[in-house]
């Protein structure tokens, strides 16, 4: 076989090859290795001028070619930064020459970009093109899945939010409040629980209509949110019942101040669906440190008793739970309960 047609054959079948003399001199090189090494390549250099042998043994540069042949080689380029190639070296060419075939291995994706390689730079039988296709196709599929996941997550969060929110006022609903209080109890946080009812809600509805009733509830929500801190929890229990959880607020004087501000703000005359009205509310509070162990249910019951006491005392005021309140005039309590249902 003439040398010319051997080059043509090797260029076509393994474009990343080197033909070496048994002393390591490079006698010819395939087009793709020339392209990759670029200016770092010139004819008649030695293999060891271009590459360090990383494996089978790091620095086996001085080993004769016969020691390196017939096994997987890892070569590190010396004239080009960050370039590592896989290789296999075998004798068998005429005149005792060796054929070293090289490839990018797993780095082929990066290499194609870096050295601006095209399909023509790889043998027709090479699987590089298929691999690049696969990488790109899988990447597109992953992107689509990620987008779907993000969408689903957003929808989940929105659904959770909706399930925890009172539609009319935007406040937390009973479900969300129960969860929040349970968390506070579990983490042994101290807090005050205030139950608050809008006074004469039924009368507002009857006199001015349901739109006015709704507007009044929204006004209460607004006042409660404004007069509490962002870490406090304000919830609507349904109807005209509200619950405020004041975190860390165990000083009755402080709670009383907040209650006063709420009452005063509600008492300001504002536009409620075209009517200028001032509102009033009754409120009752239980404080967690008054209990041997934090007990959300007991506190709720006691806050209710305090709320009833506030109503009995003429409405538009705030009362702290007191043990006396457990001695009802049972009848009076019952009457209050009946009125609330009405």
């Amino acid at each position: 076989m003439t040398k010319t047609s051997q080059s043509d054959m090797l260029d076509m079948i393994c474009p990343m090859h080197l033909v070496l003399g048994n002393d390591g001199t490079i006698l010819s090189a395939g087009p793709t290795i020339r392209k990759t090494l670029g200016d770092g390549f010139c004819d008649n250099t030695e293999l060891r001028d271009l590459f360090d042998v990383k494996s089978p043994q790091d620095g086996a540069n001085s080993a004769p070619l016969s020691d390196l042949s017939g096994q997987k080689l890892r070569l590190r380029a010396k004239t080009v930064p960050d370039l590592e190639l896989k290789g296999v070296l075998m004798p068998g060419l005429p005149n005792g020459q060796y054929l070293l075939n090289l490839s990018f291995g797993i780095n082929v994706v990066r290499a194609v970009q870096l050295y601006d390689l095209t399909a023509a730079d790889f043998a027709v039988t090479d699987l590089t093109i298929e691999m690049l296709y696969l990488v790109e196709a899988k990447s597109a599929a992953m992107d689509a899945f990620e987008a779907l996941n993000a969408k689903l997550e957003k929808a989940r969060v929105a659904a959770e939010q909706q399930a925890s929110t009172d539609a009319l006022t935007g406040l937390s609903n009973r479900r969300a409040l129960d969860v929040a209080v349970a968390t506070l109890v579990q983490s042994c946080e101290v807090f005050a629980m205030m139950h608050l009812d809008l006074d004469f809600f039924k009368a507002i509805n009857d006199t001015y209509g349901h739109a006015a009733g709704d507007a009044a509830l929204k006004r209460v929500a607004h006042v409660l949110t404004t007069e509490t801190r962002s870490r406090d929890i304000v919830a609507r229990f349904g109807g005209d019942e509200f619950v405020v959880i004041l975190r860390d607020a165990i000083d009755p004087k402080g709670v009383e101040r907040i209650a006063d501000r709420i009452m005063r703000a509600l008492g300001e005359a504002t536009d409620i669906e075209g009517e200028i009205l001032s509102l009033s509310a009754s409120a009752g509070t239980a404080i967690s440190t008054d209990y041997p162990a934090p007990d959300a249910e007991a506190m709720a019951m006691d806050a209710d008793l305090a709320l009833y006491a506030a109503k009995r005392d003429g409405r538009g005021c705030h009362r702290f739970y007191h043990i006396d309140m457990r001695q009802p005039a049972n009848a009076a309590l019952q009457a209050e309960a009946d009125k609330r249902i009405a």
Partner: protein, 195 residues
Amino acid sequence: MHGLVNRAIQRFVIDSYGEAQWQTAALRADVGVVEFEAMARYDDEITPMLLTAVCDVLNRPYEELMEDIGTYLVSHQNVKALRRLMRFSGVDFVDFLHSLDELPERARLAVANLDLPELELRQNTPGYYELHCAGPLSGSGYLMMGILRAMADDYGALVYLEHVGVEEDRERIGVSLLEAEYAEDKGFALGAQAG
């Protein structure tokens, strides 16, 4: 049917005719979905119902619609990824034609259980090929015509395409290669999307 198919129809209508037309068509199809997810799966009945509704609303014959969708899938700027994936198959248009047999397998490598039409290329005379195309949607031959037309354009080849009929459930598309290097190849960089 894989969501990619229904999603493609949706994107085609929106990108070519607008969101309003899509809403009308989707509601008319009455399949319970107005927004298709590319990575979800849907009942097979939905796709034909969707296509029928789109035809009605856009007032186009079914065959023309399928062909337009095929062209859109390869040439519209919003679906660049698909054109790139197709270009991997062939270095020039003739090479691409010969790779069509493998197209369904290539697609499944990327997205398992994506059902594309089974394709078979036959060469009868020099410069003339016949693509046989079967299922899963009716009119997939016309869809392939649109794809081939756009791919030829992309490679810079001049071709004449003709739907020559149906033979035992397989649609036959005649492809006459008039000139392989008629116009400039639009270009394809192997490494463009990597990293």
